[in-house]
Amino acid sequence: MKCDRREFLKWSAALTAASVVGFELSLPENLQAVDVDKWIKSVCRYCGAGCGLYIGVKGGKVVAVKGDDKNWNRGYICVKGSYLPKILDAPDRLKYPMVREGGKWKRITWEEAMNLMVSKFAEAIKKYGPHSVGFYGSGQSYSEESYLANKLFKGALGTNNIDGNPRLCMASAAVGYVTSFGKDEPMGSYDDIYYADCFFIIGSNMSEAHPVIFRLIMEQKRKRKVKIIVADPRKTLTVRNADLHLDFIPGMDLYILNAMAHVIVKEKLYNKDFIDKHVVFKKLGPDNKPQKVNFEEYVKFLEEYTPELAEQKSGCPKEKIIQAARWFATSKATMSFWCMGLNQRTKGVWVNNLVNNLHLLTGQICRPGATPFSLTGQPNACGGIRDVGLLSHLLPYGRLVANDQHRAEMEEFWGLPKGRIHPKPGLTAVELFRKFAEGEIKCLWVVCTNPGQSLPNLEKYRKGMAREDTFLVVSEAYHPSRTSELADLVLPAALWCEKEGTYGQSERRYQYLPQVIKPLGEAKSDFEVILTFARKLLTALGRADEAKRLFPYKTTEDVWNEMRACSRNTVYNFWGMTRARLIKEHGMLWPVPTEDYPAPGTLRRYTAKYGDPLVKKYDPKAEDISFYGNPADGNRAVIWLRPAVGPAEPADKDYPFILTTGRLIEHWHTGTMTMKVPELMRAAPRAFVEINPKDAQKLGIKTGDMVRITSRRGSIVLPAKVVDIPRPGVVFVPFHYPDKLINILVTDAFDPMSKQPEFKISAVRIEKA
């Protein structure tokens, strides 16, 4: 980039000015970041924010990445996104299939690998029936790949033992939305950030896990008077920029949320006519069946949850709770964000319901700036798993396995014989690996995820995965990882821009990722692998005709068209999102019923006034707001009476501390990709345990001392980082580091409704090592 400093600064001033008033100024050639043949529009590989970016290619290699300034992220990307080019040719990329023989890895060809896999799966199905095989998908594979796997296992094989790793991150949010609004997926979008006056962030460290969204909020904080409330037991960077911080004992946030509802009701801050028109009240009856109640009973239910009780239980001062409730209710538009802090809990669904309740109670919903927004962890957890239905209790696009009518619809759509889809929901992630450990599941195929490091109570499941008599196949781009080291067969997978497909991020925006370079070595895209496996397995099972009929696809576009058709008469309806439009646009938000429906699609759902095309279709007589996803309750949303309950494993005498795990900005989940980038390793080189200075002083621990952390399931030694981030009594450990498997200590108790394990709260003991 040969231009002097003065020139660069003048151009920066011009460009910034232009962007403010929407002038079209293109960068002159010499100011391009680096000399690049061409820039190709794509999406970041990492978190659920789904930042659009341009990939710079030069001579068949990816050399640079820059933010897509026409997408929602307006050209911003975070530091790990900026280093994406470095993960593609990282040292231990898996280049060819390998099989484990006597503890050593032997290289084999793709045919041998496929034949071995097909024979193993076919033999298991013939001998023990279809329920003896399983599939563990990922919120990072592309939507088409997950749809294929779902169709193969639920449709062709007729087993529901297929689950995705969003069971560990988004299941509670999904069930929360379904119980509150009838259908899954948030109804707002990032566009609401520009209208919201009050942000209520709970159980989410946005500055680390969703940095670019957080940047947009901070931009609003600079430009207009906005109030930011953050409820988090750790004083993260998110908290340090907030106006009000609710600091509480982890697990006790149900008390706080109920207390906020209590204040809103007592001070008459609720929106009575909204409640009358659009809300019903329910509680779980004695026989665990939902029971309709009226508003008065809800008020009586809230009586008990006074701010004083909340303070006594959660340790959060009552003035702050009252202040938060008032700001939440009286602001012109309140937008709430939450993430794993609420989802990864044994009461995940309930606490999701409580946040939705606050929005329904105060009418802060279905208008610009007012919406409950659940942040997604993985880039395709929404588009590829929750929408495509790759969870053991789901069928594509809002259909449930347990619902006969839905099963009939899918069997008819896929052209399957009656009754092929099994009526009972299958095993969820934790149960799937429990059964695999017990040997009931004979063959398991893990694609694009790392359960060997991310499952809770890890030791038990790692032993299970290492069993000799079961067959574990892992499709992964890197080897060895903490899962592929336990596998019997590893298949090299194409990575990110080495294959094409679509991602669906948190705000229902589907975006297309083109293939930019050839896969490394013999790596193949999961689409190809699943397709060939499906055809070979069905022919091996003697159903060659079904193989041809069910899997006729040649490219991912064929699958995409089938998916569009499948979503046509559902609430997800994105029939208008043809592949061509997705390639042209910077992502589109469904529902997009027709092909000429303007980009970027529907920013807000359930409100006709603010542009949801399906309200008129599903609820003609509604004049503006209609929760058409919940016809059973008359297109009304549900406020649930959820009693406040503590965590499964609270701190006690011999385990006085609470361990919470989480992410850093530098690394992505189990670090198979980001730990190959030296710059990111420099910024976050090793695992540590964050300890509050007061606790550290009591235990005589200084930064850098080795500390032993013990829970009921195991113990681990980590360097201490004494810093005023976690509240007294809480310690934090990032789960990225393969050499320090913190998930061994984490409890695998899970939410009875969503089956999501409680990563966030485990009781531990700390002593100097």
């Binding site: 400093r5 911003y76 530091v79 940095p211 900005i665 420099r682 910024a683 930064t703």
Partner: protein, 158 residues
Amino acid sequence: MFKTKFLRPPGAVKESEFVKKCIRCGKCQQICPYNSIVLTSWENPFYFGLPYIIARKKPCYLCMKCPPVCPSGALDRTLVDKNKVKMGIARINRDTCWAYQGSFCRACFMNCPIFDKALKMTDELLPVVIEKYCVGCGICENVCPVEPSAIIVEPLKD
């Protein structure tokens, strides 16, 4: 052509005085648990044997073990509180720092031992060094993902 600006161990007296007072006995280097201290040789033969810290390779983690063992008063023997250390001041190069270039990175903020005092994040999520509290330990320079580091600790000039 010889290096003249050295980042001295914590508690060091003024540079001109340090050169005269330090008897180059290597005790601070030996006690340092992180091997952060190296002795000068080719960099500048006039400073042969004087201890200094290359923050980019190994910063000073302020464990405060070296001042007590210094026999000659080159390091202030009584210094214990890491907040009172003054080794240098960090300077951010806005042209290469990710945060100032539109990406979002906060490695220096999260690893600063004087947490949220010596280095703060502004509303625009840009790192800013507060010179009054920055002790100049070099941890930020060590963790900065950019090569060469976008935040450099400049040793104290007399």
